[in-house]
């Protein structure tokens, strides 16, 4: 925001106030203004993670806030971090029960890398050019990978003391910068990749209008939302290093789209059994339009025709949702809720066939094949994904004794979709919960939940031999839909013997077992325990602390098939004669095909402590410390020649365990003192220490070229930009601010004798 506009805004807030200053109903205003400076000494090769969503650069810190009220009118205004990339401000006001208006601006940086490198020139634009090979990253170009996001909007509501109301709102979200991306070299992922700075010049405009009726007995509303997403760059062209001619390849970026949504909602309360019936229906349509690529860079190298059946793709998704809920107290001490929820996605987009001519099919390297194949000749057609979901259920609560209640619920979901692997799924959830609040100082809640999901896997290998890649499909499951059984327990305990003394515990344990899995995720185990405590005495010292431990484990079974025939006879992807029946889970294992399994585990610890200590009536000290650590690992086993699952190099594929799978440590120490010089002026001095350490198999020992050391003649060389690789480091932050505040003049207190005079 320009300084002139800002100063006008702030001035406007205060200038406006006298206008309300009627003789007998003055606008009373209180406010605060802070100005100071921040100094940040950073020590990291890449500071992006230390300042991921904030502007922590050296400079000024500031904020201004004011609010005013009289008996009919009000306003609030606030702004902070003016002139910085994380500035925020809002102003709102209105007349009670008549109208209100508001506006805001919210800026945020999102830093991915502050020291990225690339062999390309043109970062930020939609053409990235480089002359390959370039094996010396020291000669590459440095750039900041990240974007700045601005969200600015406002609203107005009109009610004027009636049950009827109208609201209009809108905002615009804009992004400027670049985000993380990459592209496969050559024609398939087998040839390495290059990191690309995806130009991110987005603008989303949102508008909404709503009208309705609201009383204590019923509400009803209609709302229309419109959103338009504009991307300044619908493609990114970049030099593909795989091809010797340094030809430009094309990556297709998010297309422009428009979104329309209509919502009707209502509820009615004045029903028997103190029941309330509520309903909501939404209809929305998302449209996009994109020119389809007529050529694609391909082997040769050459731009091969893609032969699409349409020149332009018209995308259209129609979503509908209907929700119905009924809550009631049908008898004393019993509450219940019955609900139904229906959602539907209808994809009415164009069906596009690439290679739209039997006599002129797609060339090799560009075509699509069946599952498991990499480079085959064959035309490509998109599948339109649709679904319909039905969800029905009920809850019932019975307060069977003072401070004790028992809950029970059942929830049923049914999914019908057009997906190649699963088209039908349904799941039932049963839960029971006991809650005890008999004692004033202790409360507890114990919940058990059972979920059973049944899905139908469409694949069949009937009529296929184990040499056919399609044979494997019927053994491969997807964890998001595979039939499974989940048991979950949650426990909550609270102990609050005194207003500022309390402990709170939350424990969760969940185990999901997938049924009939040959290949895919076999199970997940999650547990977490969280403890928080507070102690203190108001006006003297307050302490708070928490600690937690979480563990997540995923197990999975897989099959490696490495050696297959190139075709066309036998067809591409088929097993070789030296490796027969390679798609059969029970085939004799060898180095070309074998089963293996994996177990990933994350253990996360956290501790935090904080204190607020009023050292004296004029000095307050606040301090906190936060420590977060994650240990991630993956262990593997694979078949040996006898078919046994063994760990380590004894198995085929050399499955060495990974001990650093997103290991991380974060520390944050904050200390600040606030000195109140008088009622109006105060000074704050603070220090913060932040440290971040990340150790992951994907970045430990990171190089900008892959494989390393790079060989110039290697056309499969990958070119990386350093994202997420050099973020270890720490920062020391010092800040000093001065704050001026003024309070509204106190009102005279009505004398006791006047009670009832104006009632």
């Amino acid at each position: 925001m320009k300084p002139k506009l800002l100063s006008t805004l702030v001035a406007g807030l205060f200038v406006a106030t006298p206008a309300f200053a009627g003789d007998d109903d003055p606008m009373r205003v209180q406010g605060t203004a802070t100005l100071g400076a921040i100094y940040n000494n950073q020590n990291a090769a890449d500071t992006a993670k230390l300042e991921e969503y904030q502007d922590l650069g050296n400079g000024a810190l500031s904020n201004v806030g004011a609010r005013g009220r009289n008996s009919t009118t009000w306003f609030d205004g606030y702004g902070e971090n003016f002139g910085r990339t994380d500035q925020f401000m809002y102003v709102r006001g209105g007349m009670y029960d008549i109208f209100k208006v508001g506006a805001y601006l919210n800026d945020m940086p999102h830093n991915f890398s502050t020291s990225a490198r690339t062999p390309f020139v043109g970062v930020g634009g939609n053409v990235l050019v480089a002359a390959f090979p370039q094996i010396n990253p020291a000669t590459w170009n440095g750039f900041n990978l990240g974007y700045e996001r601005r969200d600015a909007g406002g609203y107005v509501e009109w009610q004027k003391n009636s049950p009827w109301y109208f609201r209009a709102d809108g905002n615009q979200v804009s992004f400027s910068g670049a985000k993380v991306g990459s592209g496969a070299n050559g024609t398939s992922p087998g040839n390495g990749f290059v990191d690309l700075a995806i130009p991110t010049q987005y603008k989303t405009s949102n508008w909404g209008a709503e009208g309705g009726y609201q009383t204590s007995k019923a509400t009803a509303s209609l709302r229309w939302d419109y959103s338009k997403f504009d991307n300044s760059n619908e493609t990114l062209q970049w030099t593909n290093p795989f091809f010797g001619g340094n030809l430009l390849d094309t990556t297709y970026l998010p297309p422009d789209n428009t979104f329309n949504k209509f919502t009707a909602s209502a509820n009615y309360r004045d029903l028997p059994w103190r029941s309330v019936i509520s309903a909501r229906y939404t209809w929305s349509e998302t449209k996009s339009s994109a020119d389809l690529g007529q050529f694609a860079l391909n082997s040769g190298p050459a731009y091969a025709p893609t032969l699409p059946s349409e020149n332009t793709f018209n995308g259209k998704n129609v979503n509908q949702a209907f929700a119905l809920g009924w809550t009631a107290a049908p008898m004393t001490n019993v509450d219940t809720r019955v609900y139904y929820y229906w959602t539907k996605l209808a994809n009415r987009s164009d069906v596009v066939e690439y290679g739209n001519a039997p006599a002129q099919p797609l060339t090799g390297g560009l075509g699509c094949g069946t599952v498991g194949l990499t480079t085959v000749v064959g035309n490509c057609e998109n599948d339109l994904y649709n679904y319909t979901k039905n969800n029905v259920g009920f809850d019932l609560w019975w307060r069977f004794a003072r401070g004790q209640k028992l809950g029970f619920g059942y929830d049923y979901n049914n999914l019908d979709q057009t997906r190649v692997d699963y088209d039908k799924s349904h799941w039932s959830k049963l839960w029971v919960e006991y809650k005890n609040t008999m004692l004033d100082t202790i409360s507890g809640r114990l919940k058990y939940q059972y979920l059973k999901r049944d899905s139908t896997l469409n694949y069949s290998n009937a009529g296929l031999t184990a040499n056919n890649p399609a044979y494997l499909s019927s053994y491969t499951s997807a964890f998001d839909l595979q039939s499974s059984t989940t048991n979950q327990v949650k426990l909550y305990l609270d102990y609050n013997p005194l207003p500022l003394l309390g402990f709170s515990f939350e424990g969760t344990w969940a185990k999901q077992d997938y049924d009939n899995v040959t290949y895919g995720r076999t199970g997940s185990d999650r547990q977490g325990y969280f403890l928080t405590g507070n102690w203190g005495e108001a006006g003297k010292l307050i302490l708070s602390a928490f600690g937690s431990w979480e563990e997540t484990k995923y197990g999975s079974d897989h099959r490696y098939i490495g050696t297959v025939a190139g075709g066309p006879t036998p067809p591409p992807g088929f097993c070789t004669t030296a490796n027969p029946n390679c798609y059969s889970p029970t085939a004799t294992p060898n180095a070309g095909s074998y089963n293996w399994n994996s177990s990933t585990k994350d253990q996360t610890y956290m501790i935090g402590a904080g204190l607020d200590w009023p050292v004296s009536p004029t000095l307050m000290v606040k301090a906190s410390y936060l420590y977060v650590q994650n240990n991630g690992a993956a262990s593997f086993s694979s078949q040996d020649a006898t078919g046994q699952m063994v760990a380590g190099p004894a198995g085929f594929g050399n499955p060495l365990n990974i001990g650093n799978f997103d290991d991380s440590k974060q520390q944050s120490l904050n200390v600040k003192g606030i000195y109140a010089y008088n009622q109006n002026w105060s000074f704050t001095a603070g220090y913060a220490y932040e440290k971040y350490n990340h150790n992951d198999i994907g970045t430990d020992g990171y190089q900008y070229g892959l494989p390393y050391p790079a060989v110039a003649t290697n056309t499969n060389l990958s070119y990386l930009n350093g994202y997420d690789a050099f973020t270890n480091g720490h920062q020391n932050i010092f800040y000093l601010t001065v704050t001026y505040k003024f309070d509204a003049p106190p009102l005279p207190v009505s004398p006791l004798a006047s009670f009832g005079a104006t009632k």
Binding site: R69, R269, T286, N319, T327, S556, D662, N670, Y723, S750
Partner: protein, 314 residues
């Protein structure tokens, strides 16, 4: 914003003068000064009058209390031993007509005995010390309040990969309606994906080639509250992808430590024997950096032609 300030200042909005003799603090403030000061510059304070009509709206008729304050204590409907539903009834006396509370009874909070005062403090209260990283915002963080009950969610926001919740740039209530909703988890939009798309409009598509799990539920792969894995992923890549995708060559390949940037202990590859911690000549492009996503970068959908689009590589 300037227009707003000017609008508020215009004579057109000069309201009819209230029929009372100037603004005064309510009679209750004679004894309950702190409680009055807490609501003075709020809607509750602005609508109050000399008799404390707003005070009595919650605490009941004060006539007897004023006659003998020691004998007749004012009603405190928000004490611990009052059932949350009863507490809510007091607030709903005035606020039941508020459309934002239309689905209160259908929401999880009402069912789980969350009272209005669990989150809202009309007269203010002493808060626990803030525990967080250093943030530039001077404003209180809404997640601190929600986190007093939702400890697991609060812990997730501290994990290395998170939405800017602890930085104060988005709030819990940007996605959830704490006052009740008909949707699971009280999300504001009809579906999880609609909720995500309300900010991530670039993911809306529709694309020529779509990834069905993406269109069905973003939460299949992402945890919006926070994760130890980049991009809020539920599991490390490539393992996350391999939990659905098995097949010939790379989807079904085991990517163990032998594919890292550095030679791993026990790696039998002759080039790595005795060279633990040194550059690994057999580093796998499918394990390091962003693993599968380094090549399949358009995983949310693609308009690229041929297999470039179908396999999300462009």
């Amino acid at each position: 914003m300037v227009a707003l300030a000017a609008l508020l200042a215009t004579p057109a909005f000069a309201q009819p003068k209230p029929e009372k003799s100037g603004p005064v603090a309510p009679v209750c403030a004679n004894c309950h000064e702190a409680q009055w000061n807490a609501i003075d510059l709020t809607a509750h304070g602005a609508k109050n009058d000399a008799s404390g009509s707003m005070c009595q709206a919650c605490h009941g008729d004060a006539s007897e209390h004023l006659k003998d304050p020691a004998k007749f204590k004012p009603n405190n409907p928000f004490q611990k031993n009052v059932a949350p539903a009863k507490q809510a009834e007091v607030c709903l006396t005035c606020h039941s007509g508020n459309r934002n509370l239309a689905f209160w009874t259908s929401g999880k909070h009402a069912q789980n005995d969350v009272a209005c005062t669990s989150c809202h403090s009309v007269h203010g209260k002493t808060l626990a010390p803030n525990i967080n990283k250093f943030v530039t915002t001077f404003l209180p963080n809404q997640a601190d309040g929600c986190g007093t009950c939702h400890q697991q969610i609060r812990a997730a926001t501290f994990k290395p990969s998170h939405h800017p919740i602890i930085e104060g740039k988005i709030k819990c209530s940007d996605c959830h309606n704490p006052h009740g909703a008909l949707t699971p988890a009280m999300v504001k939009q009809p579906t999880i994906n609609d909720q995500c798309y309300s900010c991530h409009a670039d993911k809306r598509g529709p694309h020529v080639f779509n990834h069905p799990p993406v269109e069905e539920n973003c939460a299949t792969c992402h945890n919006p509250h926070g994760s130890v894995h980049y991009k809020l992923l539920n599991e490390s890549t490539p393992n996350l992808c391999q939990d659905c995708h098995d097949g010939s060559r790379h989807p079904g390949t085991v990517y163990g430590a032998a594919g890292g940037w550095l030679c791993a202990p026990g790696d039998p590859n002759p080039a790595c024997v005795g060279k633990t911690g040194q550059p690994n000549p057999a580093v796998s492009s499918r394990l390091v950096s962003r693993a599968c996503l380094s090549c399949h970068s358009a995983i949310h959908g693609s308009n690229a032609p041929g297999n470039r689009g179908q396999f999300f590589t462009r």
